[in-house]
């Protein structure tokens, strides 16, 4: 139980996907202009991330490796993610049109979000078993959603007119992300 907690803390805070691992930065800087967009994107990604990690683990361990086709893993994972995104979209549309309205437009974007693939690959690199892979994915996804929400809040002040011209737009976004990442350095050692 305790190590589950530690794994989650590590994935959410200490080794935060975005701020420490550098994964999922495109949506982080791209879809955080509005809070509700950011949170919806975070949730949609979280879903695909968790499912993707689980399915990929199974496919890799029980299909690719026995067939000695491990080197096809990138191709397979990318298609797992893309199919999941489509499946999820269809499923959501049928089950809950409301949810579909909220998440629908973000789903296609997730295919090129490297965080999803990154989480799968990291789980594999660290030799996590199935349960830990899924747990790690849940934690990473939660960390992703958390910083999406935080950053969306911060962006209001980044529209301040007094920001020096050279810093407007991307530079100030990056500096702010840097300071946020600096703040997250404080979690170093937590749960270790």
């Amino acid at each position: 139980m305790f190590d589950v907690f530690l794994l989650l803390i590590s994935a959410v805070l200490v080794n935060n996907l975005v701020l420490v691992q550098f994964l999922g930065l495109c949506p982080f800087v791209g879809v955080t202009q509005r809070s509700d967009d950011a949170i919806s994107m975070g949730l949609a990604t979280a879903f695909v991330m968790t499912m993707g990690a689980a399915v990929s683990y199974v496919l890799y361990t029980f299909v690719l490796v026995p067939l000695e086709m491990a080197s096809l893993k990138l191709i397979v994972f990318i298609f797992v993610i893309a199919s999941l995104v489509s499946l999820v979209e269809i499923a959501i549309r049928h089950v809950s049109p409301v949810l579909h309205q909220v998440l629908g437009i973000y789903l296609p974007l997730i295919t090129t979000n490297c965080a999803v693939l990154g989480v799968i690959l990291i789980g594999m690199r660290d030799d996590l078993d199935f349960a830990h892979t899924v747990l790690y994915a849940v934690g990473a996804a939660a960390g992703f959603t958390l910083v999406m929400a935080i950053f969306a809040g911060l962006r209001d002040r980044l529209a301040e007119q007094r920001i020096p011209a050279a810093f407007r737009g991307a530079p100030i976004v990056l500096v702010t992300a840097g300071i946020l990442s600096l703040a997250f350095m404080g979690f170093q050692g937590l749960g270790a």
Partner: protein
């Protein structure tokens, strides 16, 4: 409009905050020697020079903005957070980081989302952690042997009990005479002055100190070696008072209304306790404040409301 009531202006507020830091500075100098005053002098000069340079770089009028005094407050807080006689280049790094990256890239006074002093301090701490651990061995205050502060000893307490740490650690006189307790007490005095003058909102220090006390009390087991420290230990060590009264209260970077401020104070307190107890850097203050700053817009948004029933 012209002022019709004698409320204090922003520059006056900044000056009063700087003055309220003086008991802390003096006590710190008494405890750790004149190296503290050197820090303060260097930081203040660098801070004002840096602010002027940045204003010029931004094509802003220098003189009127310089006298708003916020750069001075930033510099003094940095000076107090550093070990005595820190190398001027390191101070320059922190002050430059604070005013440049922490404040002026966002457009100067009032526009920054993060506490500038803590941005500068954290940049320095992460870059030169060894140099920032160099607090002088404190007995007599002169001999410049470095030693672990109580918080570091606490961090890696091995078999030591809380009271071992208290008596053994550098700068701890256990209630009273010398060390971090007296510095924290002096800062508390200045902080209470600010509360009394209504320059800071009492809810923030109350939230910070209350949460730290509460968490420490709940987890306190009588002081065994596995304890996370007693409430008294947490309330007298490190930068806790500085944080509660001077840092977390920076109006620019904390929420604007009462409920938000309670929440913010509690968040800072909980983070300090957690980071002190479990994370790598000994005093989690800077990181706790920066993280809470990041949450401030969200907290404020909770409060975008009308009190009136619609």
């Amino acid at each position: 409009m012209a002022r019709t009531v004698s409320s204090r202006s922003t520059p006056e507020i900044m000056r009063i905050v700087a003055i309220a830091l003086c008991p802390g500075i003096v006590t710190s100098a008494w405890v750790f020697g004149e190296g503290v005053l050197l820090n303060v002098a260097v930081a203040a000069c660098l801070g004002i020079g840096c602010e002027a340079a940045l204003l010029r770089l931004r094509d802003q009028p220098v003189a009127p903005t310089l006298i708003d005094g916020s750069a001075l407050v930033t510099s003094l807080l940095i000076a107090l957070a550093l070990p005595p006689s820190t190398h001027p280049l390191l101070i320059a790094f922190a002050v430059g980081g604070a005013l440049g990256l922490g404040k002026h890239v966002y457009g100067g006074l009032g526009a920054n989302p993060f506490n500038p002093a803590m941005v500068g301090y954290a940049l320095l701490l992460v870059s030169f952690p060894a140099q920032l651990a160099a607090w002088p061995q404190f007995e007599g205050g002169v001999d410049q042997v470095t030693g672990a502060t109580a918080l570091e000893t606490f961090k890696h307490r091995g078999g030591a009990t809380v009271s071992d740490i208290w008596t053994a650690a550098n700068g701890f006189g256990r209630y009273g005479v010398d060390g971090f307790e007296s510095i924290n007490a002096a800062i508390l005095v200045g902080g209470i002055g600010l509360v009394a003058m209504r320059i800071i909102d009492w809810r923030i220090p109350a939230g910070v100190l209350g949460t730290v006390t509460l968490l420490a009390a709940v987890t306190y087991d009588g002081g065994s070696s596995a304890s996370l420290g007693s409430p008294a230990f947490h309330l007298t060590s490190g930068a806790i008072m500085l944080c509660a009264f001077f840092i977390a209260t920076d109006p620019v970077t904390c929420p604007t209304d009462a409920r938000g401020r309670w929440l913010f104070g509690a968040l800072v307190g909980a983070l300090i306790f957690t980071l002190r107890s479990y994370a790598n850097y000994p005093d989690g203050v800077a990181f706790a404040v920066l993280i809470a700053n990041a949450a401030t817009p969200l907290i404020n948004r909770l409060e975008y409301r009308r009190v009136v029933a619609q």
